[in-house]
Amino acid sequence: MRPFKFTQAADAGSAVQAVSFNAGAKFIAGGSNLLDLMKEGVENPTELVDITRLNLTQIKSAGGGVSIGALAKNTDTANHPLIRQDYPLLTQAILAGASAQIRNMATNGGNLLQRTRCSYFYDVAMQCNKREPGTGCAAIGGINRNHAIFGASDKCIAVNPSDMSVALAALDAVVKVRGADGKERSIPFTDFHRLPGDAPEKDNNLQHGELITSIELPKSNFASHSYYLKVRDRASYAFALVSVAAALELSGGKIKQARIAMGGVAHKPWRATEAEKVLIGKAATEENFKAAADAAMKSAKPLEYNKFKIELGKRAIVLALRRATGKA
């Protein structure tokens, strides 16, 4: 096999050092994405730094919100009482992804960094700017049914596959990372992932060697009116065609705050801020939901095979809002 070095990091500092000093090194957490990509020859790290022993698995109350360790398992996160109670949207989103077995292995940090499921990216015989910058994009002009309708570029039209990230975008989470200098910085969730632009090889704004340590959830008033809806080609164990994380704060029959994020539509979890604006101050009615859905899809630019995502996206927003408000 292709030889690589394997290091077990004892603490965050040494993990960050090890990866920072080797351009070919990568962290490995649950391995449920990275190992697949290595077997396919898509990722070819020269060194794996195992971070599963780091003490970053806690889920605890912090500053009115909740702090989730980067190495907490997806299953433990989804089922944690603090999350179930205050952030049911996140629970639903995590449980809508993958399978029980994979969620038992998958970590939160790894989930945020899972790579696109564009099938041309996965097949090393195909041209792909994300895998090999400058080779071209086989999906443009190819079968792009699963690809982006927002924010794509002429270099890459892939979508981010994470369900968890869609909920985190809606909940205004903050990602805490630690760099080679030992300092921590905070990245607002909506700035964490990137649009492809001219550098589709970069999925996110992490520097090489930066370690995600935790995800911070601010205090939320959305717990009683939120819903994660995932539309897919089979009932479970499939990535989203379109997904919607909807969260509302209602007050006196009016929508005080609204969050809508979409998955399966862009290179990053897509916040539909236009739709949110339409809802604020309005009553939670079907009519207003439809207006919000129309606003969300206004700037969509479909490709040859994914035109359906516009209508599907609208319907998914309406249904998610209905369910968030207990109307379905």
């Binding site: 499921r117 099938s119 089979r234």
Partner: protein, 706 residues
């Protein structure tokens, strides 16, 4: 003792079950062979053209590599099969994307795979035929298929008042047995042993022998357990030949497993079909014309046509019909048999069109079918050996609660789901094929044990078990006294587990062998009995502690006078989310008339398996080829969607009791193939009843219902 020997038909768990759940059953790759090396196949990345150069230098130096085999240095083998045998490294021609171009042999699988990535192949591209839409425009009638004509279809269709004229599409599907194809090849001199799971032991043996210029008996196939096949393990595909070649080249045993990704272009597929259906009926609901024209593709080296129109020739009493085929050659791996080959995809089109006709006539689709029930097989004018379509329809209607169905769509809801019901009937021919059995009896006092030996195969369906049941009951022994030896080419030749012939062929042969043993033993003694003697008494009377006999069984002479088929009816209740278009099969009912059911449990499991795959066919499964290059973009189970647990609602299975005296001595019809026939149509018809949308293009994914 009588009760534990009356076992035919009982719901008996598989006798190989314990071996399987404890990991003791050896599949193709599981055999512990000493000093084995591992092979990995490199695939072409063009669909048509020639290899101009292969640079193997880096691979040869890669850690652990023992040999790199390409067309330049491959062992010469004979072209043995135009369907399964393309890609055995005999020349530089490429016929499809993903054709084998090199084999790496290394000390470990990982080393072979890593080295494979460093092989550089240069190609000269030729014009490739990889766009189905363009290719079908040039489709022609296959040489081996004439139209099946009855009456005057054109005149009857043109004159009719009530018609349906619609085209239905089904995509490429892959078999994907749980156990991917593999082989371990071990040479001793000119004798070859291959551990390789197959549905047809003799077929693989013949293919390999031809390829290597050996006598069949020089090739020993060992295949006691098969992790599914569905038609893809019907003979020697290139992986078996390349394993044997690699073992010859490195002069040691070689293991070669096809990776899941490479299952898409290594072992056949079900081709894309476009079916044009024209149905006409009188206002009273009698069919007057039925046309079924199928357009499909085949590979450039072989002509294979799935017989989608075959049901149209015999399911209904229709005086005027015409069934035809057109096929276009494409640079795609060979299409091959896949569960219900022709009938399953054909029934989607036919039974959808029948549903459309019933709807147009405002008739209940169950009644419409019953009204057009044919008194005999009109395709050959033979009487049915038995036909349970009407009973299946009636029983299934009761089981699903057909009375809750509203004739008009969109009348039934549950929350934001639209609820619909659909029906389809189906059929698959029954046949007994030549099969020999060697029966060995051994006696210690009153205790007799039997060994039943035949080169049959068990693809996970329960062949071991029903063979044991047959022998036990015929010999009057408990099943624990019967040993079953199958899946070995050194045993007497047997039919394959294909085309639903397995149960009838194996069990009739085994029963014949057991009866013959009793007759022969009887003839060896003068003793007379008032009540029928046990085998122990017979052997005792003949002073024998050991006895063996062999039969070469075949179908009864009269069987050909009848048209013999298994028949079924499928009913589905679907829930369709009105907004998202996601379809869920909430309940599904399958009722089958398949003659004698040898084992109620394994039969039920077979039908459930057919229903699950039918759900996949209807809703989720599709292999998508990029028409620019001919590569599959659905290369893993993340993209090729087989139904997950949540896609499968409640499945109820029932059998209509049938005693068919004509089909074969034991009255067995077979259930494997028929299990999937009609399932997709019942679901699609239910989706129409729920939504008012007629999806004629499978699979019915959410986007098609917006």
């Amino acid at each position: 003792m009588a009760s534990d020997t009356k076992v035919i038909g009982e719901a008996i768990s598989r006798i190989d079950g314990l071996l399987k759940v404890t990991g003791a059953a050896n599949y193709g790759m599981d055999w512990p062979i000493r000093n084995v090396a591992y092979a990995f196949i490199v695939k072409s990345t063009i669909a048509a053209g020639t290899i101009t150069d292969i640079d193997t230098a880096a691979a040869e130096k890669s850690p652990g590599v023992i040999a790199v085999i390409t067309h330049k240095n491959a062992t010469k083998v004979v072209a043995y099969d135009p369907m399964r045998g393309i890609g055995i490294l005999q020349d530089n021609k490429i016929n499809f994307y993903g054709q084998n171009v090199a084999v790496l042999v290394a000390e470990t699988f990982e080393q072979a795979r890593a080295a494979a990535r460093s092989i550089k192949v240069s190609y000269q591209n030729a014009d490739s035929k990889t766009d189905f839409e363009k290719c079908v425009a040039e489709a022609v009638r296959p040489a081996n298929r004439n139209d099946a004509v009855r009456g005057d279809f054109d005149a009857a269709f043109n004159a009719a008042e009530h018609k349906v004229d619609a085209t239905y599409s089904t995509p490429i599907e892959h078999h994907h047995p749980m156990e991917p194809h593999s082989a371990i090849a071990v040479w001793e001199g000119d004798n070859l042993t291959l551990y390789s799971a197959t549905q047809v032991v003799g077929g693989v043996q013949r293919g390999v022998a031809t390829a290597f210029g050996l006598k069949p008996e020089q090739v020993h196939i060992i295949s006691p357990h098969v992790g599914g096949g569905f038609g893809s393990k019907g003979g020697a595909w290139t992986n078996v030949i390349l394993a044997a070649m690699a073992a010859k080249v490195v002069n040691r045993p070689v293991k070669l497993a096809v990776t899941r990704q490479n299952m898409f272009n290594s072992v056949g597929l079900r081709q894309q079909n476009r079916q044009h259906l024209r149905v006409a009926a009188t206002a009273e609901g009698k069919l007057s014309a039925l046309g079924h024209d199928t357009t499909q593709f085949t590979t450039t080296t072989n002509e294979f046509a799935e017989s989608c129109g075959i049901l149209a020739t015999m399911m209904y009493e229709v005086p005027n019909s015409r069934v035809g085929y057109k096929s276009a050659a494409m640079n795609v791996i060979a299409p091959t048999f896949q569960r219900g080959p022709g009938e399953s995809t054909g029934s989607f089109a036919l039974e959808s069109a029948i549903d459309e006709m019933a709807y147009a006539l405002k008739m209940d689709p169950v009644e419409f079918r019953i009204k057009n029930e044919p008194p005999k097989d009109l395709s050959n004018n033979k009487p049915w050996s038995s036909r349970a379509t009407v009973e299946c329809l009636k029983r299934g209607a009761e089981m699903i609660g057909w009375k809750n169905r509203k004739p008009e769509p969109r009348q039934n809801r549950n929350g934001d789901n639209l609820v619909g019901y659909g029906v389809a009937s189906g059929s698959y021919p029954s046949r007994q094929s030549p099969t020999s059995t060697l029966l060995k009896l051994a006696r210690k006092g009153d205790d007799v044990t039997a060994s039943v030996e035949l080169a049959a195969s068990d693809i996970g369906t329960g062949a071991h078990t029903i063979i044991a049941q047959t022998a036990a009951e015929t010999l009057g022994l408990p099943m624990s006294k019967v040993a079953v030896k199958i899946g070995d080419s050194a045993l007497p030749p047997a039919a394959g587990s294909v085309g639903s012939i397995g149960a009838a062929s194996f069990c009739n042969s085994v029963a014949d062998a057991c009866n013959q043993a009793k007759t022969e033993l009887q003839a060896k003694t003068d003793r007379k009995w008032l009540i029928a003697p046990t085998v122990a008494q017979l052997m005792d009377a003949a002073s024998l502690n050991e006895y063996q006999t062999r039969v070469d069984a075949k179908a009864p002479a009269d069987a050909a006078k009848y048209s013999s088929h298994a028949f079924n009816a499928n009913f589905s209740e679907v829930w369709v989310n009105e907004l998202t278009g996601m379809v869920r099969v909430h309940r599904h009912v399958a009722v089958t008339g398949a003659g004698r059911i040898m084992n109620a449990k394994t039969a039920r499991s077979q039908v459930i398996g057919g229903c699950v795959w039918g759900i996949g066919m209807a809703l989720t499964e599709e292999s998508i080829m990029d028409p620019r290059w001919g590569n599959f973009i659905t290369r893993s189970f993340a993209d090729y969607h087989i139904p997950a647990n949540l896609d499968v609602g409640t499945i109820d299975v029932a059998f209509i009791p049938e005693e068919d005296q004509f089909v074969n001595k034991l009255g067995i019809k077979g259930i494997g193939e028929v299990g999937i026939v009609g399932v997709a149509a019942a679901i699609a018809n239910a989706v129409f009843n729920a939504t008012g949308k007629r999806v004629r293009d499978l699979p019915i994914t959410p986007d098609k219902l917006l």
